[in-house]
Symmetry: C2
């Protein structure tokens, strides 16, 4: 519990209306897109970097945990305030400070919603490629914290490829400005890169300088359907080997195809075991079309029984509906879903998909497979009903098997969601003791009092057993 | 001086023939591509990561400085062993371990020469874009240490955009493996990114996993000539604003044009004040050609009096000769040259070019301007004769004025060469005290004994006055 004096000081910094301490109000700041929940002691919504500085100075002096969040759409528990303390809600810091057309750059506050930025820059012919599924809610600050991706990453890269500069409030309240409006920079350590993907454990990012690209004038999309999931997954390497770098290469399995078709009343071949969405973009219509047709040939040679190329942008939007609507579509299939984010080298996707199907059989779950196949990032999802006794223990075992399989294939725990609380107990398995120790040294150097997003990313328990059961879940922390 | 026992131990690690202590032999390990020179106590050439581990364990135990180097083509003194100690020559570690065609990735030892890797991957239809001017000598390890770039960075990015994983031997000899064959990775801190651009001050990079792209099938190149340097520099923003992301956008001023024309007997318009090299690449010949033609229109509208589009690849190679031959061509103009590497936002190039010309006038030097204009990275070069009394003091003042101007325009000290010894005294001006202090904290966490490339990157003197004069130069350290 924080003292009344501390709460008063916070009110003095951000204004009384931006400080919340009522248990019912705090529920809104206690969860993310996982099943976890834990209330902070206070939620504080600053308006600018200077207010974040004052909050951090106070927190540093009084040794209070601080968890920064944007829209809290995270899928790994990264913004759950598991240690209580101050929840720093950056959603009010939602200003696009500048769209610099001459330099193709944008300067934004951390709370700007990703899709809002994309729309604004597209109005002036520019393009911000990273497009996580939650793009209509999630914020640039959160994207930086998790090094977010999306379907366009094979060709365009992830968030870290677009961050040129950051304003970061450090644990003790000092303001670090690093990078700048610079396309190239070999002046000292690449500090912006250190904060990207650090999930709020090293500092609070308040402003971001982003690189933009010219908006491609043309897009062309095709879908390919396969009677064997393995043929679809083998097609990924074949397309890349054909010399084409597609803008998108998305994979959905039979369950996902049917869930989407039901949910959106789409006419999709119900018995297809896999579907690939293939997209290319560029400035020249004929050239883009030619590459999509070439990809169609490649997937046919790999065994696709049907390939549809969208003739109009309306048809293209329809093709995307199946993929974009997957979240809610899958939500109807079972009461609960445990959605993961493993990544392997793209060439190992067939093997990983095979392992996932085996794991599903072994533990008696339906495990769906979809994801950004082009870059090896899969979102296997375990469907379950957590009211059934003992089911969470089984989910835990199946998830463990999924992580182990990814690591055995040279892959990793997360491609774009981050580690948060959910996967922290697997970090030593994933990185090894030396990398983990280097991370700890850096953490200690930048956050000596350990107040920034405590209990995240780093392992907290002696064993990974019970890694889900030990998390604070919905229902454990309802308002009194 | 190192003890005979230490030298013997080093011989035991790498083999006697790979340890050099003779003063004459050590000269070969005492310089880079600047004017600096300082001999190490011993030069050691390991064959593999395991040998580097043993060398580092010894150096850590005995607190001996270690400077790693590849080809020592650096332009900032980064590999000069200014504190003596062990010069760790990684040139023997020149194995391309794997070209993984399915995943479009390569695994290489640090001593692989950049152009050699490029040739090998091109044989199988793949492409490694970063292309520093010294690509025929410089090594991937050095490219990682300096976050090297080259003419293709506007479209393709710099070294850090291609590094997926690193093997690093830490100060105490532990082996850090970070990243992997992973296109996306949000599993913990982005450790590979921390080592990129750290100039050997945080660890010794021994192996690198690189991302490759499909090799573009077509390239098209044009040159544009201007009667005003400002029109050329304004064209850069105009091309980007036209929605085109060129593969290359290089700038050369009148002196550079004439030096190249003389050196290579090329037929170039001698009175042109500036030349731009414009290049686009892609898979579709018509589309690529169309974009080059569109760029030609844009530069004409900005005042280019002549635009030549290369009709054949022979013609294209001739156009590039002028740019690639610039180093030796300029070498003939004056006994000495001080070549810098400042970077500004591309839109500020006209202002930066104007400032450079003013600085030349003020200090009585000819200052050439050429560089990667598309990404704002310029290499202004001061021509001088250091046998003239007092000239180095004046060079120092002019260089200071160049750095100050770049920083005033929101730019930075280095786009691709790094800081080394040459620009270390400007780091606080460039980064501010907070960023510098964060860098120091990270350095201390990873290299607590300060044995890795001492006296580099960080300021060493109370004032920047005398920043060149204080460096160990050729002639100060000739073999006895």
């Amino acid at each position: 519990m924080l003292s009344e004096k501390t709460i008063e000081e916070l009110r003095g910094i951000v204004g009384g209306e931006h400080v919340h301490i009522g248990p019912a109000e705090l529920v809104a700041y206690s969860y993310d897109a996982t099943f976890q929940q834990h209330r902070p002691d206070v939620a504080v919504s600053p308006a600018c970097t200077e207010e974040v500085v004052e909050v951090m100075k106070l927190a540093y002096r009084e040794v209070i945990p601080v968890v920064a969040r944007g829209a809290s759409t995270g899928l790994a528990g990264g913004t759950i305030p598991v240690s209580g303390g101050i929840l720093l809600n950056l959603a009010r810091m939602n200003k696009v400070i500048e769209i610099d057309k001459d330099n193709a750059m944008a300067v934004v506050q951390a709370g700007v919603v990703t899709a809002q930025l994309q729309k604004e820059v597209e109005k002036v012919g520019l393009f911000y490629p990273p497009d996580p599924a939650s793009l209509n809610q999630c914020t640039i600050g959160g994207n930086v914290a998790c090094n977010a991706g999306g379907p366009r990453c094979l060709k365009y890269g992830v968030t870290r490829h677009y961050v040129l500069g950051l304003t970061v409030v450090l644990a003790d309240g000092r303001v670090l400005r690093c990078g700048g409006k610079l396309m190239k920079n070999s002046t000292g350590y690449q500090l912006p890169q250190l904060f990207i993907g650090s999930e709020g454990t090293l500092g609070v990012v308040t402003e971001v300088i982003l690189r933009l690209l010219p908006l491609p004038r043309v897009r062309s999309t095709a879908t390919a359907f396969f009677s064997k999931l393995e043929d679809a997954s083998r097609s990924v390497a074949a397309i890349i080997a054909s010399g084409i770098l597609p803008a998108t290469l998305e994979l959905m399995d039979n369950v996902c195809i049917n869930a989407s078709a039901d949910y959106l009343s789409l006419d999709l071949p119900r018995d297809a075991q896999a579907m690939l969405i293939l997209e290319q973009d560029g400035n020249d219509e004929a050239a883009v079309r030619k590459e999509v047709e070439r990809m169609a040939e490649v997937v046919k040679a790999q065994g696709a029984f049907l390939v549809k190329v969208a003739a109009t942008s309306k048809e293209r939007d329809d093709l995307w509906k199946a993929r974009r609507g997957l979240g809610p579509a899958l939500g109807r299939l079972s009461p609960n879903r445990f959605a993961e984010d493993i990544t392997v080298a793209p060439g190992r996707i067939p093997e990983m998909v095979h392992r996932l199907l085996e794991i599903g059989k072994e533990f008696g779950f339906q495990i769906l497979v979809f994801g950004h196949a082009g870059d090896g990032n899969l979102h296997p999802s375990i469907l379950f009903d957590n009211t059934k006794p003992g089911v969470m223990e089984q989910v835990e075992k199946a998830a463990e098997a999924i992580f182990d399989a990814a690591l055995e294939l040279g892959g990793t725990l997360s491609g774009e969601h981050g580690i948060g609380t959910l996967k922290r107990e697997f970090m030593e398995d994933a990185l090894g003791p030396v990398a983990l120790s280097v991370m700890k040294d850096i953490k200690k150097a930048l956050d000596p009092k350990g107040i920034l997003n405590p209990q995240k990313v780093f392992p907290q328990r002696a064993s990974r057993k019970g890694f889900i059961m030990a998390l604070p879940t919905l229902g454990n922390d309802l308002p009194g």
